[in-house]
Symmetry: C2
Subunit: 328 residues, 2 copies
C-alpha cells in the first residue's frame, strides 16, 4: 500500500509500505479520509518522544471495512486501543487505560491506504455522512470531552458561562463550536495566525490576536487551553474568573511556573484532559452529521500523496484551514 | 481590652488595646476560645503581604454575644465578612465575594477579649459544646470544603477512594478525619514533624515522614495538599492516580514548576480552594459536636496571655498539637 511515513523531523515521505495484516478480532479498513492533528505536527517537529520515526502518523480517520465482521460498512476509527478489562475501561474512562495505545503513535497510523483495527474500535458512520466530515469526529470528540469535563465542574449551567478558547486549531475551534451549540452566551477564541482568525470569524465566532490583545482579566467562567504552552497557561490563569475552570488539552510544552496563589485564593479548578471516550466519539459523529457544529468551511481536503506539502504548509502557517484532511 | 498583637515578624505581644466598637448591624462578642491557624503563622513569619503589623491576628473563634440582637447566646464566628449581595454571595460561594474581608487579616482579629462582628457572621454553638471544640469549627470547615470540592469531581464514591493528605496540621488532620468519617477506605497522612505524626497516629490514622518515605506513585484517587509548597505540589502530582483529583489548600509558597505533562496525559484535576461557606461551618460544628471527627486529643488549650510562647513553640516545631487554642 501507499502511506505517508514520518521519516525524520520535518520530513514525511509518501512511499510504498507493506499492507497491514489484521490479527484475530481485528478488521482491515480502507482509509477514505484522515485529518492532520496538532499532535501529528508535534511529532513531525521531533518534539514528541512517543512518536519515533519511521512511523505512519495519523489517527483522525474514517474509511470502509474491507475484511472483518462488518465488511462493507463505513466506519470512523476510535484510534485509542485499550484493554477493555481494567477499571478505567469498564468505568467509562477507557482513555485512561494503562494499556492504551494510539494509532499513529505506538501503533501504525492512518496516513495510509489500509489499517488493521480491533473490531470494537469501529464506529458506524451515520448514513449519508461524507468521509471528510467523518474524519473530523475525532477532534470534535476531544473538544466535547473538554467541554464535558469543564461543564461538570461549573457551578452554573454552561449557557450562562463566558467562555474563552486559547488556540484556534481544530480542537480549539471545535471547542468554541461546541460552546456555541451548548448555548454559551459569550465565546471568544485567541489565535495568533491571521489566516486562521479569518476562518474562525467565517465560522461566526469572535477571535482576537493574543500577540496584540489581552482578554479581560478575571472574567471567564470556562477556559479551554487548546495549546498547552507556558504562555497560554499563564493567560488562562490570568483571564479565569474566581471560581472558574480551566481545561488543559494541548501539550505544546510542559514546563513553566503557574500562579498557584490565584489558583488557590480564587478557587480555580484546572482539569487536565486526554482524548475522549467512545461515547464522546459517537455523540460527535451525530452532532457533525446534524450540522450542530456548523458547516465546516474551515476544513480543507488534499490528496494523501501531497501530504508532505500539507505538513509543510501547516508548519509555516501558510493555510487558513484549522484542519487539513488527507484523502488516500 | 487585652489582645495578642502581631507587632513585627516573629513577634506577637500581649498588651492593652482599645475595645472594639460595634457598628450598625454588628454584635460585640466576648471571645472564649480562638485557634492559631497556619495562616496566622505565615503572617507571623512575615510571609503574608496581606497581614501587616501591628495587627490582631486570629480567625478561628467562639465566644458569647455581649451586645447585639443575640445578647447572651454562645456563637462561632464566620470570620469571612462578605457583601451578601453579589452573585458569589447569593450563589452559595460567598468565600469568593470580591469584597471579602477576613478577621485577623484585613479586619481586627480574635486574639483578643472582644471583637465586633456582623450579626450574619454569628453561628449558634450547639447546646453543650465546649468553646475550644467550637473554635475548631473553622479549620474543620476548611477541610470539609476541600473534601466536598474534591469529592464532587471524583467519578466514584469517596468511600472507594484511596486518599492522601499532605501536611498534618489541623486542616490536614481534619481532612483525614473527614475522609474517615465519609468512609474513605484508605487514608494516609504525610507530616515531617515526628511529634505531630505521633498525634496523627493517636487519632487512629496512618502517618509517614515525607523526608524519608515516598507514598506509592500513581496510586491515590484524592490528594489534599494542606501545605501548598513546591515540594508538596510535586509529591501530589507524582502520587495521584490517573484521573485523580488534587485539592490545593495551603499556600506556603506559590512558585515552582508543575508536571503539566502528567496533569494532561493522565487527566488529573487540580482544584484550588479558599476557606468555606457558612454551610460548611454549620455542618462542621454539628460533626464536631456529635464526635464524628474523633475526640480531638490533638487540640491543646493555653491562655491567650501566653500566646507569644505558643507562637514560638509552633515556629520551632516543639509541640505535638496540630492545633493550639488560646483562651482569653
Amino acid at each position: 500500500m501507499k502511506a505517508l511515513v514520518y521519516t525524520r523531523p520535518l520530513e514525511v515521505t509518501y512511499r510504498d509500505e507493506p499492507d497491514p495484516v489484521a490479527q484475530s478480532g481485528e478488521a482491515l479498513v480502507r482509509i477514505d479520509a484522515v485529518g492532520i492533528c496538532g499532535s501529528d505536527m508535534h511529532g513531525y517537529h521531533g518534539h514528541d518522544p512517543r512518536r519515533v520515526p519511521p512511523l505512519v502518523l495519523g489517527h483522525e480517520a474514517a474509511g470502509e471495512v474491507v475484511a472483518g465482521a462488518r465488511k462493507g460498512r463505513r466506519v470512523i476509527l476510535n484510534p485509542l486501543v485499550t484493554c477493555g478489562r481494567c477499571d478505567y475501561c469498564r468505568g467509562g474512562r477507557a482513555n485512561l487505560c494503562p494499556q492504551r495505545k494510539l494509532i499513529g503513535m505506538n501503533r501504525p497510523g492512518a496516513f495510509a491506504e489500509l489499517i488493521a483495527m480491533p473490531e470494537e474500535n469501529l464506529i458506524e458512520v451515520p448514513a449519508g455522512m461524507g468521509a471528510t466530515v467523518a474524519a473530523v469526529t475525532e477532534p470534535a470528540a476531544t473538544a466535547l470531552h473538554a467541554m464535558h469535563l469543564g461543564g461538570r465542574v461549573l457551578v452554573r449551567p454552561i449557557n450562562e458561562a463566558r467562555i474563552l478558547v486559547l488556540g484556534g486549531g481544530s480542537v480549539g475551534l471545535l471547542s468554541a463550536l461546541w460552546a456555541r451549540a451548548m448555548g454559551g452566551r459569550s465565546v471568544l477564541v485567541g489565535e495568533t495566525n491571521a489566516l486562521r482568525r479569518a476562518s474562525i470569524q467565517n465560522a461566526g465566532l469572535e477571535a482576537y490576536d493574543p500577540l496584540t490583545t489581552q482578554p479581560e482579566e478575571n472574567a471567564f467562567d470556562l477556559i479551554i487551553d487548546a495549546v498547552g504552552a507556558k504562555a497560554t497557561r499563564a493567560a488562562a490563569i490570568c483571564a479565569v474568573r474566581p471560581g472558574g475552570v480551566i481545561v488543559h488539552i494541548g501539550l505544546l510544552d510542559s514546563a513553566g511556573e503557574a500562579d498557584w496563589r490565584k489558583i488557590t485564593l480564587q478557587e480555580v479548578t484546572v482539569i487536565g484532559m486526554y482524548t475522549y471516550t467512545a461515547v464522546d466519539l459517537a455523540a460527535s459523529a451525530a452532532a457533525l452529521h446534524e450540522g450542530r457544529l456548523g458547516n465546516l468551511t474551515w476544513v480543507e481536503e488534499r490528496p494523501l500523496s501531497e501530504g508532505a506539502r500539507a505538513f509543510a504548509d501547516l508548519h509555516h502557517g501558510r493555510t487558513a484551514a484549522a484542519k487539513i484532511v488527507l484523502r488516500p
